[in-house]
Assembly symmetry: C2
Homo-oligomer: 282 residues x 2
């Protein structure tokens, strides 16, 4: 490119406004400077871009042609710059409903206290397709996830509310809520393993399924049954005594939370957030 982009910028304004004086005002430069730039550009191209009339200027055919391209081209660049700038303070996080509701959102309050200039927006959905400028946190198969993108391996246990657990008797089998993932490529939750580890000393269960752990957790808190879910999701409720494990024999799983995008694609604020999140959920 031989033509100075500065001159293009000046030309664009002059063409759009139809006046060197107005262009000068818009760009906060003198009209002499506009004049210089335009005639410079005209000399380089060997073409008149404006016809000078009595008092003012009018685009020639070539000027008009160039004007359309510069307006569109510069607009495109400017819009991208504006978007990036406005995104600079915003961080979009996309994750599962369960992780969002039970882990992320309760933690956000603390994050905002530390990083006041970053505004985190949470969206949920089961789609893996990563959106632009969005940090994605997904539930995945620990055997298929690279160490560097792994966030936390999930251990499972059975939880219930104090009153519900106390009310369990041998003759009345309690309901336990398990999760059957909508995404059938995901490993199942380790219910069989948990039974093997804990089964001998336990009552029979009436098993019901939800497609998200979240719903089971809510049922458990409401005292309507037990939930078999990951430690990560209920740790806050356990701390608050809203739930307790019915056994301390939690079991390992093939499930983990991970970040599907490569870390070098992350902007600084994304990386800050990931580091902080890792520290919070240990």
């Amino acid at each position: 490119m031989n033509a100075s982009l500065q001159a293009i910028k000046v030309f664009e304004a002059a063409a759009r406004l139809g006046s060197f004086k107005d262009a000068a005002e818009e760009l906060s430069i003198t009209s002499a400077n506009v004049s210089h730039h335009i005639s410079n550009l005209e000399n380089r191209l060997g073409v008149r871009l404006f016809t000078r009339i009595n008092r003012g200027v009018i685009l020639t055919s070539e000027g008009h042609q160039l004007s359309e391209a510069t307006t569109v081209g510069l607009q495109k660049i400017q819009t991208a710059l504006d978007n990036i700038k406005s995104d600079a303070s915003k961080l979009n996080v996309d994750t599962t409903s369960s992780f969002a509701a039970l882990v992320l959102i309760p933690l956000l309050h603390d994050f905002n206290k530390i990083y006041q200039n970053v505004d985190v927006e949470v969206s949920t959905g089961e789609v893996v397709a990563s959106k632009v400028n969005t940090l994605s946190i997904r539930l995945g198969d620990v055997t298929r996830v690279d160490e560097s993108s792994l966030l936390k391996k999930e251990r499972f246990n059975v939880y219930g509310s104090f009153p519900f657990i106390r009310s369990i008797t041998v003759d009345k089998p309690p309901t336990v809520y398990l999760t059957k993932w909508k995404n059938n490529k995901l490993p199942d939750s380790p219910w069989e393993n948990w039974l093997i580890e804990n089964g001998e000393s336990l009552p029979e269960f009436e098993i019901k399924y939800f497609d998200q752990e979240l719903y089971g957790v809510y049922e458990a808190i409401a005292g309507k049954g037990l939930v078999f879910c990951s430690e990560t999701l209920v740790s806050d409720f356990v701390k608050a005594n809203a739930l307790q494990p019915i056994s301390y024999q939690s079991v390992d799983s093939l499930l983990c939370y991970y970040i599907p995008t490569e870390s070098w694609q992350h902007s600084a604020k994304m990386q800050t957030f990931v580091d902080w999140l890792k520290s919070q959920i240990k």
Copy 2:
């Protein structure tokens, strides 16, 4: 716009090539300068555009977003500049088939001798919609055409070849070719007026119509009849004795050749051409 377009240009190359060093090479600057520009841009935006890895750089999410916009935007501008530059030596003239074939093209040889650096391209068509970067010469209604855009008022007469005119006898009415314009908003050729001016001393005619004067002229030259057409179109043939008027009583018409675009839209080469053409056709 706050960001320097120079920095955008450098960023675009670096993003496209995935390397500061290669960008520096492409732009014929030092890699230190590339580094300066990029970090400057990053500071202004408050966003990392590249992740610095061991040896090299990789676009971040934001960098990728900006890269797409800058590549498209700058490309658009560059293409327009290239087009204008290549157009600088080319002049497109659009006019009627008759004017092109009978006036313009015969004259072009002389024009090229004087203005060797301008390459005139002629296209024809009855559409009035003016194309970009094209000088249009149209047949119009002299009462609707502004003085400044008028090229030449048309006077009409009846022409034939020497042998044909000599062969005309009172008992055998000669064919005369008139023109009925496809565009019915155009005034008719002044046949009635011509008859009034010349009629008394003339034989009866067998009248046939074409939609372009050109065809009638060719028939007349071929000795198949007479043509009623404008002086402008046949002046070369009259000079060359291929045609002669059957009467010296040419008549005025409401028709004229004119240039529908405003003269201030014309580039320098267009204006040069128009001035030259006016001088040639008087």
